[in-house]
Symmetry: C2
Subunit: 371 residues, 2 copies
Amino acid sequence: FRDFFLPIISFVREVDSKYDLRKLIHSIKVGVALVSVSLLYLLDPLYKQVGENAMWAIMTVVVIFEFYAGATLSKGLNRGIGTILGGGLGCLAAAFAQDVGGIGNSIVVGTSVFISGAAATYIRLVPRIKKRYEYGAMIFILTFNLVVVSGLRAEEVMQLARERLTTIVMGFVICIFISLLVFPIWAGDELHDSLTSKFEHLARSIEGCLEEYFKVDTDKENRPGFSFSSCKSVLHSKAKDESLANFARWEPWHGKFRLSYPWKKYLKIGEVLRDMAANVLSVKGCLQYPRQSLQNLRASIKEPCEIVGSSLAWALRELGESIKKMNKCETAAFIMPKLKSIRHELNLIITPSALAGVEKSTDALELASFV
Amino acid sequence: FRDFFLPIISFVREVDSKYDLRKLIHSIKVGVALVSVSLLYLLDPLYKQVGENAMWAIMTVVVIFEFYAGATLSKGLNRGIGTILGGGLGCLAAAFAQDVGGIGNSIVVGTSVFISGAAATYIRLVPRIKKRYEYGAMIFILTFNLVVVSGLRAEEVMQLARERLTTIVMGFVICIFISLLVFPIWAGDELHDSLTSKFEHLARSIEGCLEEYFKVDTDKENRPGFSFSSCKSVLHSKAKDESLANFARWEPWHGKFRLSYPWKKYLKIGEVLRDMAANVLSVKGCLQYPRQSLQNLRASIKEPCEIVGSSLAWALRELGESIKKMNKCETAAFIMPKLKSIRHELNLIITPSALAGVEKSTDALELASFV
């Protein structure tokens, strides 16, 4: 079977960063989960038990196995609840249709399909439900329809529903087992890493900005301008952070936080850091247009600005480091007075570029120093 | 059947905005599509043709019918391509496994399941593919597995694949017909509206900022501060815009743009407007901390600042209006010189709050005046 493993080996060679390695682990986990669930087909004793319904186990594994453990759990639970609700209501509607009988049967089925589909779709579009239960609503519509229309034919709806539910649970258990217990990839950890790296990104952006601003004008034209890409990545991290936090809240006991993962605080700090990134980004305009007339002013503010910039970057790095290591920030007591005194000095000389940044960062401090 | 329609009537009553009406229309469309596809079960002649495979048509409708026409089309095509590729490769693998025979059969099946699952999952995680073809990759894994494992049992893989494909195509056709032809909800139109409303949001934010900044200090404490929420909504619109543009590129001929929907330009303008929103947001710091020492300076710059602010807001509204109506901006010739002269005036008096904004907006102009 050497031929089969060649593509895998070539994948392994591609791996050069931690991120890619995680993707590789995830892919292998999915492969393992699929093979385990295929055993329902491949092993005769198991196949005799579940029959064609083994299909639903495969489908469950393919559909709910997501990159983050929390996402898998959330999708699995959504699928379970959607199936049970849809199956239950579908059974009721099918039984009612059976009672009516004749041509009325089809009408009742058609009407219930229309109403349940339209109502669940409308509910699915409500923003708060869309965020967390969209998949469940979709599975509800699917199960309801399958049960209610096949109820006309199979006349054994209850048994069908029970059997399918059993196989779905099998698929779910395999997924959860592999996703949570074998090299789990936690959305909470990712959120944590992304938050701490934001501090570093901002610190580097501030330093880069100041360096660019106070460069001698002559060589300004030759070199490529300072790139705001890391600053922008912080600015546009809202959607990603929110989805990570959404997954993190489903994740069970793990790591240092135990059960009370403070994802709300992560979102709050992220929001403050994004505001700060907006401040840093707004300096871009000043960098792009070298106003010769301000050459003297610029030279006169160079020293205080550089002090501000370096202490801001230092404060950010300290905070990021303390959050990363999850211990109380040792230097927190020093950061606040230092930044305040700097702000006071700055009030005397107006420097558009750094002032707003300082003010925001004290806000950030208040929030971040809780760790 | 009055009882059945009561929930719908109550929904109609809830409708108070255009957005809700669109949601309602979408829900009804989904209901109609589900009923039409259920006819495959309900009508005997049709059921005799397709049999149990009608299930796949229902599944297709439930899964691919999305809010925007472009999203439906994209999911449907993904599903189609994924099914064909997965089915084809699955048939090959199943035939190969059949040739090997005996216990080797199961080993070949298991190995191919593992490799296809792991490889497709890895590919699915590549950012560029994740964005547009993630759903197709998932369907590929699903179909491949179902075909290859049931190939062991059914011994009629080809026919099974063909029948399922037929019913999937039926579901797809119903979806596309209802989604694209009956009150279509275009992602392109939504992107267009969201872009034009950004101009208005920014204009209002700039005006609000200036008003807040130059308010008499005595009543500053009493009133609630100016809200940056509309400015922030512009700032955090990146993810939504990108997904809309992603759907819009799938959408066929419609509206004024015909086939060449300029979604790339929409994204570019959106990017510039987000930069500008960051500039506006960075003024927040100045508003929050009333520096008494600057009271005199503030009074002296009040007049030029207000002129700048109002002409900026005017320029933004003009541009937004011209994009909205999709005609060449009549006043474009006036906007550029006006903003330039203002900038020149401002260079003499440094005003941190408005300067950066002016500079960015000339960039915005260059991009936006293409319409």
